[in-house]
Amino acid sequence: MAENVKPRVRVPKTATKDEVITIKTLISHPMESGQRKDKDGNLIPRSIINRFTAEFNGQMVLDTTLEPAISTNPYLEFDAKVPETGEFKFTWYDDDGSVYEDAQKVEVS
């Protein structure tokens, strides 16, 4: 079980219609690859964020698979075109079954 997992997102608060905005996300997570061994030579079990999704007003806009080679505290940045005022919802899926969520509104004028 990964400890101190904390998602952070940065979405502009306002945008004009159909503007392309940059969204930054970061989740603090060890991303244990499953390849490393501990002091006694035993394999440390894999524990990573394996999926990240972004939804806008309930519509899926980004669905990604994350692999074990991705380093600690995965940072994902992407651009999105916003047609209307709404809410981005971000979800991270952990190997251990935990689901971390964050949401942020964007006002379109």
């Binding site: 101190n4 904390k6 952070r8 940065r10 930054k24 603090s28 505290n73």
Partner: protein, 289 residues
Amino acid sequence: MKLQHTMTAVTVLAATLALIATGPRAEPAQDDQLVINGEEEVPTQAPAPAHLDGALGDTIYSGWLFRDPDTRAMQKDDFDNPMFLFVDAGIETWNTPDGTEGKSCADCHNAIEDSMKGVRAALPKVTEKGELWSLENFVNDCRTNRMGAEAWGWNSQEMKNMTAAIGLQSRGMPVAVAIDGEAAPFWEKGKEMYYTRYGQLEMSCANCHEDNYGNYIRSDHLSQGQINGFPLYRLKDQGAVSTHQRFVGCVRDTRGVPFEAGSQEFRELELYVASRGLGLPVETPAVRH
């Protein structure tokens, strides 16, 4: 024989210095401003404090101005600044009880935003007992004497998380360490150390950070050695670095045997180096190469 040996050493040193002096000189970036999160402007220059007597010219410059544009950009946005993961961890620790007394920092000091404002800017300082203490000393004093918890190592991750979280509360406030009165003897010792040559390379702090700031030493762009951004994220180390950790690194680079992090010597040096940045705003937690 001995004289000849010394003469050779002097010639080599003179040649080295000449090489440094004729190398490409890149002034600190003059066309960039540190505006954090697009709203909070932090000045990166200040008039040189009087005690320097013109040793750094009229102006003191933050190390931020000597770094690459990409590195400068990382510090402009708290989201891109990797130190904020450590700051978050520090704030969590602030609110978490520890030790036999079952107390957290917040139980005595309440909100970190209020009680720790300006603390970083005035440290190190002389305590009631007449000792010179850095922020780390105060943290460990609280932990051992008030919380009944174990002291953290000077350069432990927990300590750097906490000093970053506390230091952030002073961001934008000018460095304001006291160098007169009780602090004067410590400050004098720190000053002497700053100008003393250490190690096989026989280099003092001043050789790089006073005589040659703006020049390159190999690929490193020498800054004025200001410590207003510590603890900071160092890209080379992929982690947080404390002031004393950097001092250890600098002395090691002269091929000398460094003092310990947290030692009396380094605390005195910290006071003196901080005083060379009097008036320069605190940038904690900064990002450097």
